[in-house]
Symmetry: C2
Subunit: 165 residues, 2 copies
């Protein structure tokens, strides 16, 4: 029998009929389901820490970018976070109404928003500084494992983006 294994990771031996498709359609063999569940669990794990800052996880990601670099556009932010204006516009409005972010306009190009932090937004960085450490304790993995996980996620993401073309 040629190894025409599908996207499942189960073994190819089978005793009943149609087991190949059964294997492929089996929840236990779904890489994507593991990815999806781990991502959900990760967001859940962040929640109690982020609640103290009154941030959601996607809002925290936006703050991470802005703590690093201000004056960027919604487009640039979206390119960094792989999110579109449909997601970011309302999110940024929420951050603005919390007094963390200001949404200016570019002088050169009236279409683009220029995103920057208020002093409160800037100050929040200090309160957030312990989160990465706390989170790493929650995941409780070796740094090498985390590096490997990150690099495989990045690789998968790159491939999936390429497959759209």
């Amino acid at each position: 029998m040629p190894n025409s294994e599908l996207s499942s990771l189960g073994n190819t031996s089978h005793t009943a009929e149609n087991t190949q498709a059964d294997n492929a359609l089996c929840l236990e063999n779904q890489v994507c389901f593991s990815l999806y569940s781990a991502a959900n669990a990760m967001v859940r794990a962040y929640r109690p820490m982020l609640d103290k800052l009154d941030l959601t996880y996607p809002q925290y990601l936006v703050m991470l970018v802005l703590w690093q670099e201000q004056g960027i556009s919604v487009k640039t932010l979206g390119d960094k976070l792989f999110l579109d204006s449909g997601t970011l516009t309302p999110l940024l409005k929420r951050l603005e109404s919390k007094g963390l972010v200001s949404r200016g306009r570019s002088d050169q190009d009236e279409r683009v928003r220029v995103l920057s932090l208020t002093s409160a937004g800037q100050a929040l960085k200090l309160e957030a500084s312990e989160i990465p450490h706390l989170m790493r304790c929650k995941i409780g993995a070796e740094i090498e494992d985390l590096k490997a996980l990150k690099s495989m996620c990045d690789k998968a993401l790159k491939q999936l983006h390429a497959s759209i073309e």
Copy 2:
């Protein structure tokens, strides 16, 4: 300098002040962001295939479970998918209104829903059978890499669940 590296994966050398926290709060070093982005991209990649079956990715997951085992409760389904009734009840109603799933009641316990497939729901399995193969092509990774990715996601998920206790 002791290596008190935070959950970032960046190197520990720094030239400016406060670089340790900067490193930890840097988007490029966030394992969780990679996980989150990869999971989003994965769901996006499934969409064109699942559109043909008129299913969303979470609906597809429910169908995967029911193709494997019917007569289970919402609770059991939720335990398998790591989702709660707040997510599953409306999702199952949608699957019911599409004529794929029936939501009966247990005779022994009037509280529990007994989930089963209609003939249309059962038949959809055949149409879905090519999806795992197509998806693996999209991710385009070696099977060993996928196995590693899956096992690390499962490990992270387990840890994150444990850290709630």
